[in-house]
């Protein structure tokens, strides 16, 4: 009973709000492992197509691999959103609010879980893709590494975070529902949108500005996501986080 005795009798001001980031990430990995497989799996399939089916596979890989990888990393946001919507629907947030977690903390946990999921897909895609490319004797160009640094990595996280933020706000202000016509179902499309738009915008600019545009757009998207998150946590009524059950 030592644990109980330690916890009991705490002065009113000495109990802290629980920290649940790691716990949320762990649960998200458990709930969303299928999306890790889907995101990583499709990325791997397309990488294999680039490396093993085409004739000029080195050129194709150098040009296409950095551009396609963020699209699959966005799948990570589905796991984060699933945890968020499931916790809300099941009434978990009602308890977390009662035990001192603030709404902002719930949104931040969702974002961190998304970042973790997308980070895993990105890491797997990059490490397996680069490993296979080396195995196939591909020589990496300078622009390949620039694209990885200024587009692939930042855009993977930016796309996932925008998806997650919009999805969480949407899930909070809408009646919970499941299926394709839901924040979770539509999340990948929300995330792919900005990723493709940035590519199109960068394609119309002079080549010297290409990576400034992609890097800048990624940063802007991350800031937009964080801004939306901050605003929604401040403005959204707490009852939006309660289950309708």
């Amino acid at each position: 009973m030592a644990g109980v005795i330690r916890a009991a009798g705490l002065a009113h001001s000495k109990r802290w709000a629980p920290v649940l980031e790691a716990e949320t990430i762990r649960r998200t990995l458990r709930i969303g492992w299928r999306y890790l497989l889907i995101g990583g799996g499709i990325s791997l399939l397309l990488t294999c197509e680039l490396l093993f089916l085409g004739k000029s596979h080195a050129a194709a890989f150098n040009m296409t691999f950095p551009l396609e990888t963020p699209l699959f990393a966005v799948m990570g946001s589905v796991g984060g959103l699933m945890t968020f919507t499931s916790d809300r629907t099941k009434g978990v947030y009602e308890y977390l609010l009662a035990y001192g977690v603030r709404p902002r903390g719930l949104f931040i946990n969702g974002l961190l879980a998304t970042a973790a999921m997308s980070g895993i897909i990105l890491t797997v895609s990059l490490s397996v893709g680069l490993g296979l490319a080396v195995e196939r004797g591909v020589t990496f160009t300078e622009s390949f590494w620039e694209a990885i640094a200024y587009y692939t990595i930042p855009m993977a996280f930016a796309g996932a975070l925008v998806t997650s933020t919009v999805g969480m706000i949407w899930a909070s202000i809408a009646s919970p529902r499941t299926g394709f016509n839901s924040p979770v179902g539509l999340a990948p499309m929300i995330g792919i949108g900005p990723t493709i738009l940035v590519l199109l915008a960068a394609g119309t600019a002079p080549s010297s500005d290409y990576y400034y545009i992609t890097g800048g757009a990624s940063l802007a998207l991350i800031l937009i996501a964080l801004g939306l998150l901050s605003l929604s946590a401040k403005l959204m009524d707490r009852e939006r986080l309660l289950s309708n059950l």
Partner: protein, 300 residues
């Protein structure tokens, strides 16, 4: 439910802080999405006891519990917990909260669910073991919560409030949808808590309310319709039921309800005299009980 569902004795279920707690609610208005559910609600509670919160569906019971727990922010008015304004509730409030919703995250076993809430509350691993034992959940600990029966789920859900002693317990319909045996066990646990702590307990069951409550707070259309000692309530009519043999011709058959002869008296003080009179006439009395619940009058 596991084969043996008896919960342990409540008296030593939690170590006690000995601290006295106090909830002061003043002119509270609260609701959802701009719709006011509670209006001008004021009360103070500080006597360690069970305060039964009664009201018809939609009267505002759940809204009251959510607002006291800090889940909802009041539209206006104040909620003070131990002298601290609970608006923008923090983890500091000494509250254990049980919603009518289970609130167990997806994909967790019973053990993991309790560990999750132990972490949320700042409780430790031994607390989880104690609760598993207290609510006889040991056999279910590795089962997924989603696989459990409704009664088993409720036990897990209730177990959460015994993870840590906090002094104020807000229990929203803890025995709803439970079989009588488990309801009894849960009531016993709650009765154990009320010896030292403030327990607000909502229920639709008036007989349960009468059995466990020391105070009653009745909400009608979002306002406090009655708040006081349950013992101060008197039914409009004081009717007792007498189960007896040899009463034919002495007690009226017309007033019989089941096995009980009904008798209307001025009050409980008349019961001994009536029993003596009947015994003197050779009636063998087996049971005398009050047939009216004063709480029923609060709903009429």
């Amino acid at each position: 439910m596991s084969t043996s569902s008896s919960v342990r004795a409540p008296t030593d279920s939690l170590p006690r802080t000995g601290a006295r707690h106090r909830i002061v609610v003043n002119n509270l208005r609260s609701g959802y999405h701009g719709k006011i559910v509670l209006e001008d609600v004021s009360f103070t509670i500080e006597d360690p006891a069970i305060y039964v919160v009664l009201g018809a569906n939609g009267a505002g019971k759940t809204t009251l519990f959510r607002t006291l727990a800090g889940v909802l922010e009041p539209t206006s008015g104040t909620v003070e917990i131990d002298g601290v304004n609970a608006r923008g509730h923090t983890a500091a409030a000494p509250i254990q909260y049980l919603s009518h919703i289970e609130g167990i995250p997806d994909g967790l076993t019973v053990d993991e669910a309790l560990r999750f809430y132990a972490k949320v509350q700042g409780a430790a691993a031994p607390d989880v073991e104690r609760v598993l034992q207290l609510l006889d959940l040991g056999e279910l600990r590795h089962r997924f919560f989603s696989e459990l029966s409704q009664g088993q789920r409720k036990r897990v859900s209730i177990g959460r409030v015994f993870l840590q002693e906090r002094g104020i317990y807000l229990l929203d319909e803890p025995t709803s949808n439970l079989d009588p045996k488990l309801s009894r066990e849960i009531r016993d646990l709650v009765l154990g808590l009320s010896q030292n702590d403030l327990v607000l307990y909502s229920s639709h069951n008036l007989f349960e309310a009468k059995e466990i409550g020391k105070y009653v707070l009745v909400l009608k259309a979002g306002r406090v319709a009655y708040f006081g000692l349950l013992s101060d309530l008197r039914p409009k009519k004081y009717i007792i039921g007498i189960r007896a043999s040899g009463a034919d011709g002495i007690l009226s058959e017309a007033s019989k309800k089941g096995e009980y002869y009904l008798q209307e008296l001025a009050g409980p003080e008349e019961v001994p005299k009536l029993v003596q009179e009947l015994a003197a006439k050779g009636v063998q009395i087996r049971e005398v009980k009050e047939m009216e619940n004063p709480l029923e009058d609060l709903f009429t």
